[in-house]
Amino acid sequence: MTDATTTDPSLVLLSKMFAAATEHASVAMSGWTSGQVSLSLDKVQEVPLEEASSFLEMGDDLLTMVVLGIQGDFGGQLILTFDELNGRQLAAGLLGRDVNEESEWSALEQSAIMETGNILASAYLNELTRLTGHQLSPTAPHFLQDYGASVLEQAVMAQAMVSDHVMVCRTEFVFNNQAVNWNVVFVPCQELVDVMNQALRA
């Protein structure tokens, strides 16, 4: 996999902006989960289109996801992905129940996880709104279980229309003091990337 942009000055600056947004989201998540969950920025990268899914480790594994669009002055997608076990544990903790061992997520579990995505996305985008001066907010969350790469394909479509590279941002999670296989993938539309770069240069 090519990785020629980690030292790109614009990406380094963008990383600082994403780190600030991630910190804001971490505080919100910690409050929502009574301190169980926190997050930190993992990486910001510009990768060739065909490498996006492997870079984000969203291949042909079936993932549980909450997808939120970005609306307002600019668009994009936020994808929150979970491994099954820890996702169920989070839902159980939020609902004050034992872990559901049925194969299907109940409506209540889905609702708890979607609200988690909503809180995280709101905090994240509120901070980006403050930093860029442009209004950004999340759409209603959408719960789905599918191949990660399939979802990512549609999420990067806006960037794919104008470029053969996509800029993606990934965040790591800690749940009960252990790193877990969750991720938030932030895929801004190209115009939002440009605006963020402009804000950083201002």
Binding site: E50, S53, Q77, Q154
Partner: protein
Amino acid sequence: MSIEVLNKEKAAVNVGMGQIALLEGNGEAKSVLGSCIGLVLYHERRKVGAVGHIVLPLSQDRPGPPGKFADTAVPHMLDQLLEKGGNPAGLIAKMAGGANMFGSSGPLQIGDANFAKVEELLEGLGIPIIGRHIGGDKGRRISFENQTGDLIVEIMGETAVIL
């Protein structure tokens, strides 16, 4: 960015967004699709096939690898197959994908447009589409086996389909 692999071995090559794989012998190719179209052009007698992962319908003079756009991918795949003796008269097509992953209310309903453009191009070239698994709102994992010409399509929670 475009992979042109003469995959004569059994190990499957992954075809990423905008890529094309050229197969001979018992080569295999795989991919995961959302709104993109996985297109197979195959010459059964010559046992050569091309698998494209098409992202957008029209290039509109935009730069990019030939596999990214339907209107560049189809001619490019044809050219590659011709070089391998794949007479256009003997070609068939199979395709999968074109989903709208976030439902009808999501952004960029590109799946339908991708499918329509690929179908239009193939019909214009007289290449029969003998198998299609298109649309919906779920992802697909596909595997193409060049030796048999089978395109296996998997959707989560459903029985796999062989085109």
